[in-house]
């Protein structure tokens, strides 16, 4: 009898998490001042750390690229005539969402203290995140509107209603996958959908479970990747197949990461008989792919 591949080793999460813990514990007391004042600040989150994690593990069989979410967000903000201050990871640290939800309060407090000090120094009025988890953490757990008077927005809310125009290079059927943190916890269902509606040539369909009944991607705060959570994810992916979509769009890099990982794994193990004939993408990446030529 030969040992079957255990699922557990698909995400050696401690490396990614320890990276952030390490980052949190390096105290950085230096003062920092942005070169010029900005109204908007853009927080990319830990997409780069994710990239490193994914590149180390063998999840990189696919072409998942998380850093492009940050680049795409910046480009879209520029397209909407917003000049954001990039609150990148050289100056800021992870928002600490995962640590909080794993119960590591010391780490979270260290991250929070650092980020709050940096935010005070930055002098921005509105902070916008491309990550639903950061959005929730800033709005609820940091309580930025209450403490520093900084308005917290998800990037879809920032881009909404700015008269942007997109054109899909070819007809495409997409579905929007509501992240738990953006949907159920923060109650934002419409802004991403409105953005998708702006894309000329993209037909949006709803998955079977949508809005406040949307299924989770299954991995919460990088805690588990085991059979049960994979079953949750597969159920979600099956709903995508049922809806006959070409692309599933998410509002959170973590959703993108986990879903794409699952799709890749299925394609690497065709003998298991699960196959979904579409791709997962972040909404920002999709919108950038649909930017019209500037000439």
């Amino acid at each position: 009898m030969s040992r079957t591949k255990p699922y557990s080793r698909t995400i050696p999460h401690p490396l990614f998490e320890r990276l952030i813990v390490e980052d949190a514990m390096n105290e950085d007391k230096e003062a920092w001042k942005p070169e010029r004042p900005h109204e908007y600040g853009y927080f990319p989150g830990c997409v780069d750390f994710m990239d490193v994690e994914v590149k180390f593990t063998h999840l990189n069989k696919g072409d998942a690229d998380h850093a492009s979410i940050a680049a795409a967000s910046i480009k879209l903000l520029n397209y909407a005539n917003i000049d954001p201050l990039i609150l990148d990871m050289n100056i800021f640290k992870c928002s600490g969402h995962d640590q909080l939800w794993q119960g590591q309060l010391e780490v979270f407090d260290a991250l929070k203290e650092h980020n709050m000090r940096r935010l005070k120094e930055s002098g921005i009025k509105i902070i916008t995140c491309s990550c639903a988890e950061c959005y929730r953490t800033f709005a609820v757990d940091y309580d930025l509107p209450g403490t520093l008077g900084i308005k917290v927005e998800h990037i879809t809310q920032t881009l909404q209603g700015r008269g942007l125009k997109f054109k899909a290079p070819e007809d495409v059927t997409v579905a929007y996958h509501d992240p738990c943190r953006l949907g159920r916890m923060m109650g934002e269902y419409e802004a991403p959908r409105d953005l998708i509606q702006l894309v000329d040539g993209a037909k949006m369909v709803e998955l079977e479970n949508n809005k406040e009944r949307a299924l989770c991607c299954g991995v919460s705060s990088m805690m588990y990747c085991n059979d049960a959570t994979k079953a949750v994810r597969r159920k979600r992916l099956d709903q995508g197949s049922d809806a006959g979509i070409d692309l599933m769009l998410g509002g959170c890099p973590k959703c993108y990461m986990h879903m794409q990982c699952m799709l890749n794994e299925e394609r690497m193990n065709p003998e298991e008989g699960h196959h979904h004939d579409y791709e997962m993408m972040d909404l920002m990446q999709f919108l950038v792919a649909c930017l019209e030529e500037e000439n």
């Binding site: 255990p6 990189n60 069989k61 696919g62 850093a67 480009k75 050289n90 119960g103 690497m268």
Partner: protein, 276 residues
């Protein structure tokens, strides 16, 4: 017989590749003449992250037994003086750098290198040029494997995400600020080294759980490849259904000392102790 050359990546040249399960295996030799192909008596060093000097390998199978993630397979190499089969690192990307195989090899034919060290941290400039030509990091390997293997992975590589490619094309037109990927890479490399070096591993060591610290999260159970961890309720007063009252128990017999559980533990309750 000598041991495997510790600096083979800078002193040896890449001469050929061999099909692995997922990705092709790099074959290194002093020069093209000292590699004769499978069936000859000159085989060189196989693999990058998991490197085995096939000229030294005596095929006693210790590494195959020790590996917690099943990286090795047997390959027949007739006419070789040391042994007529070798341990091939068929699933090299799966390596978790636990160095268990390094420890057990009786002739020191195995050398494990941290994937983070390959490609970016090479010593001399010549080597950097070389590695740019044929990248050996698993990060950039897929393009190679499209051509190398078309049966096992064809379904997967059949259709790359064209929408993502389009997005990248648009993004490439313009210089956009980076958001800290360099820092992440640096930190990642440092941390991995640091963490790997901080934990002793191998057959002489066993993982021990500190019951005071253990929170019963079962993370280690999922990470253990040998099913040698189970959750036991030590507290007889507590309800059996109460999750936190269970603590991890590591079985001496099956623990290989691979340190995966110690990595997995969120509260650092698992330490590696000497078996003696």
């Amino acid at each position: 017989m000598a041991e495997i050359d510790k600096n083979f990546m800078s002193t040896y040249a890449k001469v050929a590749t061999h099909d692995g399960d997922d990705e092709p295996i790099q074959i290194w030799a002093k020069d093209t003449d000292s590699y004769g192909g499978v069936g000859s008596d000159k085989l060189g060093i196989w693999g990058s992250v998991v490197a085995v000097d096939f000229d030294i390998c005596v095929a006693d199978g210790a590494c195959i037994e020790a590996c917690p993630v099943d990286v090795y397979d047997w390959i027949d190499t007739p006419n070789h003086p040391a042994s007529d089969k070798k341990a091939i690192m068929a699933r090299e990307p799966d390596c978790i750098v636990c160095r268990a195989c390094e420890e057990v090899c009786p002739v020191v034919a195995v050398l494990i290198t941290d994937p983070g060290d390959i490609g970016t941290d090479s010593g001399t400039s010549e080597v950097i040029e070389e590695s740019e030509e044929t990248p050996a990091t698993p990060a950039e390997a897929p393009q190679e494997s499209i051509m190398a293997t078309d049966e096992t992975t064809s379904l997967f590589f059949h259709k790359p995400n064209k929408w993502l490619g389009r997005a990248k094309d648009v993004l490439a037109k313009e210089e956009l600020p980076t958001t800290g990927i360099e820092k992440a890479k640096d930190m990642f490399k440092d941390l991995r080294k640091q963490t790997l070096d901080s934990l002793p591993r191998g057959k002489d060591y066993i993982a021990l759980v500190d019951n005071e610290k253990c929170i019963g999260c079962t993370q280690c159970v999922y990470f253990c490849n040998f099913a040698s961890i189970d959750m036991i309720s030590w507290d007889l007063q507590a309800r059996t259904s109460q999750f936190e009252s269970k603590k991890a128990l590591i079985l001496e017999d099956t623990c290989t000392g691979c340190t995966l559980c110690a990595f997995a533990c969120p509260v650092e309750a698992i330490t590696m102790e000497s078996r003696v």
